[in-house]
Symmetry: C2
Subunit: 760 residues, 2 copies
């Protein structure tokens, strides 16, 4: 392939240079709390491995493989890989962790204790048995990262249009990837130097001979996960690549082409021979060790660097047209660098510095958001300071802490385990999204439903399973509800009319759209218990309650307050009793919740302030809706409330004295959420369910006022209940992680509503 270097500075190239696609695969061993290989099966809560797009097992039952979708930013892949870690870790048996180092933990004495992955298809099991026989089970236990990389179509097309040698785009694209692959194989030692992170291996790992330790990367050395030296495949042309591979299989040197363990695989079709017609469309980089300092095994800087490295290799002229020589040289160099002592300067320091200079030149062509000057300066520093390589850093830390390699592995395994469980209601990678959506995504990923975030700020997801696409917003807005039903529920007057018509008890009242009209209607309401509220607000703003009727002055004031929130207001009958939220999905009550105002329980020893601080320590409490419960505040409103009870924050409530800090029971102002799903009288559940059916809703949060839930409710008896509101976007996280009582996994109910086949 002729030099592409001159095109690098071309304007057309510059505007498309930064586009790419990325997909990551990450293996790691499942270990127990002691850092020993887990003896349990792959977690059953993860659904079926026969279709799971994200979570699989590689060679052994303990070798968990996490697979991201294809993204067009590193960030996208990182976020999903973070989420996959949360899902897999919280799905494993209690105490199990993921081993953070490429080389496996201490292996069992008896090979038979390494269980081959229990897959459904016999062919998959047979393949692993073959590998165990040819390479030994221990060698198959090495883990790493596969980095799937594709240049943007725009970049390749622009290059194709600029060059004059090729008339066929697919042929051009294939040759581009062949060139980049040859270059990568030639210079891959640099990646081993910078990011090699497998300095040690258990004695039992080695079969015939053992290397000296520590080294930069056992995995990338001749002792690693590699074919026999005689397995050679040409990267000169696609024809040669394919025919070499096919010949190896024909001769029985490889059982199938995927047994070819090159650092770079040409990709574009599952069947190698199809590369001849379809061409190469991306490459799979396979020589990345797990970075133990990163929970997901790779840092965003490493990904950034790999991208720059591959772009540089695309434009950099090849050292020689002798591909075989280049590959041999590359393998030789890489093997040597792999086996260097991590703290030694590499023998290829000069070539490395030259390469980093080339990458720096390329970086200058990138526009602002993609500029990586700082990262490259850091890599130059690492080039000169071997202690800053990943392997170097591991050694330094082990020395500092007097740790063995296993100690280091256990330390990070424990750390990442704790991180996964610290806030189990959040999903790493997507913590900026609403809690319910995070939990819903967790459930979908766990069960193997593909999730695309179409819009983060809008909580808009696309789900796919077996070709069935479903769109979901806010984790509860789905195709199962019709358009007009939520519009109905959005309008309190319409909701009431429909429920009233269907025979349910709803507070009677009147709607007003002008202040005057509302004011002159006072006589109608003067002797009744009433609520004055804005027509459409959902957040409790502008609501006044008069349990014993309102004076004219109170009424007028309440009308004005309500009108300050909306153009129309409602004056309604006030229903006495306790308010419960019924969450009804697909005709069935899935959760019932009682909310109580922010409060603390005295112990006769601590002050209100101390009790609040203690209660706020609950990991379920947070701020800004990033936790299922909000922290209790001690602001003006709370202190006023204390004052009315003749208390201050310095008061010490008596033992078992309940001190309320708020009038309102909203969870958002520190209230407690009490799950009463089991206890709730079935009659009220039936009323809630039939009311939701009358509204025609599939998913609905409906609020009932119940004077006495120990008495059976009756639809016809207005004394037993009243329906005050129906919500088409009901909060779910408070039911899943309540303050007290059982959590109800409503997000899973939504998922099963969309994909009933997952129930099996």
């Amino acid at each position: 392939m002729k030099s592409l270097q001159t095109y690098l500075t071309d304007e057309r190239i510059q505007s498309v240079l930064s586009g790419f696609k990325i997909g990551l695969e990450k293996e790691s061993q499942r270990v127990d709390a002691n850092g020993e290989l887990a003896t349990t099966d792959h977690p059953s809560s993860l659904g079926s491995r026969s279709f799971h797009p994200y979570i699989q097992t590689d060679f052994s039952e303990t070798q968990t493989e996490l697979i991201t979708q294809v993204f067009d930013t590193d960030q996208g892949a990182i976020e999903q890989l973070e989420a996959l870690h949360d899902v897999v870790m919280r799905s494993m048996e209690d105490g199990e962790r993921l081993w953070p180092i490429s080389m496996p933990p201490d292996l069992p004495e008896d090979d038979r204790d390494i269980k081959i992955a229990k897959l459904e298809h016999q062919g998959d099991i047979n393949y692993r048995r073959y590998l165990a026989k040819v390479y030994g089970k221990r060698k198959q236990m090495v883990s790493g990262i596969h980095y799937n990389f594709e240049f943007s179509h725009d970049l390749l097309m622009s290059l194709f249009q600029l060059q004059t040698d090729y008339t066929d785009f697919v042929a051009f694209r294939t040759d581009v990837y062949l060139k980049v692959s040859r270059q990568y194989l030639r210079y891959r030692w640099l990646i081993t130097y910078l990011f090699g992170a497998s300095p040690f291996a258990d004695k039992r790992y080695f079969t015939d001979k053992e290397t000296e330790q520590p080294v930069r990367s056992i995995r990338n050395s001749e002792y690693g996960y590699t074919n026999r030296p005689e397995i050679a495949v040409s990267y000169q042309t696609i024809d040669q690549y394919v025919s070499d591979l096919e010949e190896l299989v024909d001769k029985g040197e490889l059982i199938e082409t995927k047994e070819f363990y090159s650092s770079v695989r040409l990709r574009g079709s599952d069947k190698v021979e199809e590369l001849l017609t379809r061409g190469v469309s991306y490459i799979e980089i396979r020589n990345i060790d797990l970075d133990p300092f990163e929970r997901i095994g790779i840092s965003k800087e490493t990904l950034r660097f790999l991208h720059l490295f591959l772009l540089t290799l695309l434009f950099l002229d090849e050292e020689s047209t002798d591909a075989t020589h280049m590959l041999d040289l590359g393998t030789e160099y890489n093997n040597k660098v792999s086996l260097e002592h991590p703290l030694d300067k590499t023998f290829l320091h000069e070539e490395g510095s030259w390469l980093l200079e080339k990458i720096t030149e390329l970086n200058k062509q990138l526009t602002t958001p993609f500029d990586c000057t700082e990262l490259l300066n850091e890599m130059k520093h690492v080039m000169d300071h071997p202690t800053k390589t990943l392997a170097g850093q591991m050694l330094e830390l082990m020395a500092e802490k007097s740790w063995t390699n296993e100690d280091l592995g256990r330390y990070f395994a424990d750390l990442y385990y704790d991180e996964a469980y610290a806030k189990p209601y959040q999903l790493a990678g997507y913590r900026d999204m609403e809690l319910s959506t995070q939990i819903f995504m967790f459930d979908a990923i766990q069960k193997g439903v593909k999730v695309d975030v179409l819009d983060r700020t809008d909580q808009f997801l696309k789900l796919s399973l077996n070709g069935q696409v479903e769109y979901v917003k806010n984790a509860n807005m789905t195709s199962r509800d019709s358009y007009v039903v939520p519009l109905m529920m959005e309008n309190k007057t319409v909701t009431k009319k429909v429920l009233d018509k269907a025979g349910f008890h709803v507070p009677l009242g009147k709607e007003f759209s002008t202040v005057d009209e509302a004011l002159i209607s006072y006589p109608i309401f003067k002797d009744s218990a009433i609520v004055v509220k804005p027509k459409t607000t959902n957040y409790g703003l502008g609501i006044s309650i008069f349990k014993d009727g309102a004076t004219k002055e109170d009424y007028d004031e309440a009308v004005r307050i309500a009108f300050s929130e909306d153009n129309s207001i409602l004056v309604e009958e006030f229903l006495p009793g306790t308010e419960y939220r019924f969450f009804v999905l697909d005709g069935k009550t899935r959760a019932v919740m009682l909310r109580t105002p922010a409060n603390v329980l005295g112990d006769g020893e601590h002050t209100v302030e101390e009790l609040v601080a203690e209660k706020n320590k609950d990991s379920l409490r947070g701020t800004h809706h990033r936790a299922p419960l909000e922290e209790i505040q001690l602001g003006d409103i709370e202190q006023l409330m204390l004052k009315e009870q003749k208390l201050t924050k310095a008061s010490i409530p008596e033992k078992d004295q309940r001190v309320y800090l708020r009038e309102n029971s909203n969870v958002s102002t520190g209230g407690d959420s009490l799950d009463v799903t089991e206890e709730m009288n079935e009659h009220y559940k039936q009323i809630a369910e039939s009311a939701v059916e009358a509204l025609g809703a599939k998913i609905c949060g409906i609020d009932l006022i119940i004077p006495d839930s120990s008495i059976n409710g009756n639809k016809e008896d207005t004394q037993t209940y009243g329906i005050i509101e129906a919500n088409f976007n009901p909060a779910m996280h408070m039911h899943i992680y309540p303050y007290a009582g059982a959590g109800q996994r409503l997000t899973m109910d939504v998922l099963l509503l969309l994909y009933p086949e997952l129930k099996k």
Copy 2:
């Protein structure tokens, strides 16, 4: 029944006194442009009379009967009756009107030219043939208003609880209605005096003898629509009422009970005998003449007065316990008053004044919004001044204009006809609602689908047909669309992603949620034609277009403008070409529209200002979205636009010179809407349809940019089209009443989507 008077001032009664229910039926004769009985059939556009809940025919094919639903305010009934008039008038053959007087217009010489209503059921036709035989066809041609009235359940229940005689509520309620009916029959002469409005009748109307003319009400006199004097029914008890009626039928005096033409009928069941078990639940007042001064035949003051009158009769003690005597007296008085000269003082002036005083006393018990002091003062004035009665006013007007009775009828028939056609896109009674909803309600009413307005300001309707209930908001949000699809379309980024994934050409671009991020991305866009726009706005606000790329300064400014409208903005590829709106419903393109900016066409004679004024005369143009098109303004923006063309509003454009007054093509700023549904290349319709299918929408307005619609569009060829937006709440009125081209009745398409059986 014992006196109820003492309860009137009871607190419990006061708070429920004003509640009631009302339903109206109004007959009138269909006439031609000359005021002669129409010879055409009942309009076929009104669907089937076999189930139509609103529009029927009474005796003759020309006797149109309009029936409202039951409302709990006069206002509700009036609004619907207004709407029914618009529907029926615009559904009749061109030029046909409704005769505004109770007495029919000049009747044909030959009785055979009066066609009995062409109903489906033979029984209905036979009944009318019987009536024609017994009473003569001419007498059956008299029209009037039936006023169905029900006291509120709360009022009756409160009275029941206060009294001590009855232990059964239904028996009490029945006796209340019997009392009120007796009282009404006794005092109904007052209604004849005040509202009688049939002073004249055609000679041919009279059979044996003729009355002197004018009188107050021929219809309510012995010459009117009445049974023979010997047909007497007791109102003393429900048993007697039912047995008297059954006996009349048994004896063959009446063919069935509905032939009993009393001024008051007891209602509660279609079968009279069922009144014995179910009781009376409301009464039907039948002696109201059509008020020719009102388009709908009755004024809101008359309705108000009737309500007060009935309330008064409820509490007023009866003159005598001899029911027969009271009824006889009532009939005698009413007959006399009916035949008095309209301009004479009535012989019952004293009793009338006393009655009005009783009504005034009752009125004092009513709370503010229901107070009718002014109306009662007016009625007292009418009592003293016979010229102010309806019949009196008719005579006064005829004298003033030297009109005959027929002239007066024709004058008002013409007036109401013109009113119905002045703004055919509006629906009387509901003009405060959105135009599309008004047109949609028109279509539903026309086809006999029952319409309940659940919320006016929210454009929320409930439809019912054959037990199938449908809710509709904004005339295009229905149960046929799923909840999540409009949420998807609301989000431009998500819409684009879904369309892009499905292989459609959408403008490429980036979304930014911070100003800084958008600003530093300038290099990516610097050489492209771009649009900078807020992410979610729908009204063209904050959009900047750079057809030849933007300078850094322009770009920065555009970013800031867009962010002033939304938290996220989009920077997109600009697609050159003409924008068309495709309205797709149920998989099919129903309308295609081209919108052009506000403009006038020069004639070489008139100034821009004059041309604008002339163009604004179009009845399709209005202001504040109360018309399909908006008036063209000549404000700052328009004058600046003129200035750029070196014109002022005083300039006289040359003949055929098109002068644009706006850059933007929004109909809301005076733009023209051109329907191009027929002309549009089928290929683009198919693209629009398959894009809407990809979005999963049933009803969608999708905007395509087409560089050249004479070239066939191709989904795969990005040069032929681009999709810039999909709207889940697309405007419909502009398609139905376009500036030029054929109107597409999209509201009817929505109706047929919901009720496909109406297609037949």
